[in-house]
């Protein structure tokens, strides 16, 4: 049986906006986001181990490089581009800047989205809880000590809002 490279129509909400588009069956979420000119989620290790491809789908963090784009149909998707509101940075983004929690920045959107997920579930995590939750995100520049501080600072900022 010959497989024709059919395009599959999908519709989903992306950072609050409705998107109607078509995807190939074998395309992953990152390929789709790139097509939509979103640069924040990146395919790096390709195995879901580094977290640079982190995307939030229906309020759960997933590895965009391991998810077919089609799976976004009828979902609500949040990417790093959705954090900023009217030019104002999210407290997590501010915290990352204040603590210098990145160097080359390639892994940073992934870390920030995972931090948001963590703080949504646990508003004041301990060092151990932070390390454990973020153990699925890798930073080759090794900004880990600063990231740990950033998460604590973000927790504080969110609490005081």
């Amino acid at each position: 049986m010959k497989i024709v490279n059919q395009l599959i129509p999908i519709q989903f909400k992306l950072n609050g906006k409705t998107i109607e588009t078509e995807v190939q069956a074998q395309q992953n979420i990152i390929e789709l986001l790139n097509k939509l000119n979103l640069k924040g989620a990146r395919e790096s290790c390709g195995q879901g181990l580094c977290g640079a491809c982190t995307v939030i789908v229906n309020n759960k963090a997933v590895s965009g490089c391991l998810e077919f784009a089609k799976s976004l149909d009828k979902t609500e998707v949040r990417t790093i581009e959705g954090l900023e509101i009217n030019g104002a940075l999210d407290p997590i983004q501010e915290s990352f800047i204040e603590t210098g929690a990145f160097q080359c920045g390639f892994c940073t959107p992934g870390f920030i989205l995972m931090t948001e997920q963590l703080l949504n579930q646990n508003s004041n995590p301990t060092d151990d809880e932070i390390r454990h939750y973020l153990s699925g995100n890798l930073c080759r520049c090794a900004a880990y000590p600063e990231i740990l501080k950033a998460v604590h600072l973000a927790a504080q900022k969110r609490a005081s809002k």
């Binding site: 497989i3 799976s71 699925g136």
Partner: protein, 288 residues
């Protein structure tokens, strides 16, 4: 990657129907993380993917007839955060917390995880030592087998091509305590070089019953029956544990790989077997 067709059953019956067609180019997908890796590397090139995510239901976590019953489509993260699981089987919650990473747990389903057959996985040894069973269904049949008996070899399970795991049933025994220790030998977060799952019933200082299942070092999770027999009804002390460890070594033949040599893994088994039992005895609670 090559293109393929999506098939989207709405119910389990529909899914089993598709499977019964005995098409060799079909694969099921639930969480899809493991399958995606195999498709990306070209190990599998399925022409049709049956998307089990579209199947409604089959994801409940409840207690029935003294069993913790979990639908095979329950997400690992649901199981991780379930208050029922936390209460009834803390060792299961504990193993979930260290299984792969948060993003994988958010999409992976219990049934998919158990069907994979990768010897390095964490759930099979723990569920095996808890005496859990899986309900396996095809279009026209249904059977119940022990999780331990699900694994036949390297990436080889007892599932036929037209079968699906639909439920996992874990007997709840309030007098028993369990734990799972995952030993990694490279970075802290890694596939285990060794997994040791222990489920035991302690009465005063006497071990009334024990189950030990070793994961990751052999092609399938391995229950240490001789070691179990030796330990039964013994008072636990260091010399008993040492002898148990020696017996354990006769029951396994670890494979050398990038996580460790056969000799080293054998040594790790003896160390962590003792530690697992001591952990339960010293802390007196179901955790890791």
């Amino acid at each position: 990657m090559h293109s393929f067709q999506w098939v989207e059953p709405k119910t389990l019956t529909e899914a089993l129907d598709f499977l019964s067609m005995d098409d060799p180019d079909i694969r099921m997908v639930t969480g899809g993380t493991a399958l995606m890796l195999m498709m990306k590397s070209g190990v599998f090139t399925p022409k049709k993917l049956i998307n089990l995510r579209t199947v409604q239901g089959n994801s409940d976590i409840l207690i029935k007839d003294d069993h913790l019953c979990i639908g095979s489509l329950a997400c690992l993260s649901e199981i991780e955060h379930s208050p029922l699981v936390a209460n009834e089987l803390p060792s299961l919650k504990a193993v979930m917390k260290k299984l792969s990473n948060v993003r994988v747990r958010n999409v992976a389903r219990l049934g998919g995880a158990l069907s994979h057959g990768d010897p390095h996985m964490d759930l099979p040894p723990l569920l095996s030592c808890l005496d859990a069973s899986v309900r396996i269904q095809s279009k026209n049949s249904e059977r119940l087998i022990k999780v331990l008996d699900l694994y036949l070899g390297y990436y080889e399970t007892a599932l036929e091509n037209n079968e699906l795991i639909t439920e996992v049933l874990i007997p709840l025994k309030p007098d028993y305590q369990s734990t799972y220790i995952k030993c990694t030998t490279r970075s802290a977060d890694d596939w285990p070089a060794l997994g040791v799952a222990v489920n035991l019933h302690l009465n005063q200082n006497i071990l009334e019953d024990i189950r030990i299942v070793i994961g990751a070092v052999c092609e399938t999770p391995t229950m240490l029956t001789l070691t179990q027999d030796f330990l039964k009804n013994k008072t636990i002390n260091d010399s008993v544990l040492n002898e148990a460890a020696n017996i354990a070594l006769t029951e396994i033949n670890p494979l050398s790989d990038e996580l460790g040599s056969s000799e080293y893994k054998s040594h790790l088994v003896s160390v962590y077997l003792k530690r697992a039992i001591k952990t339960i005895i010293n802390k007196g609670a179901n955790h890791e």
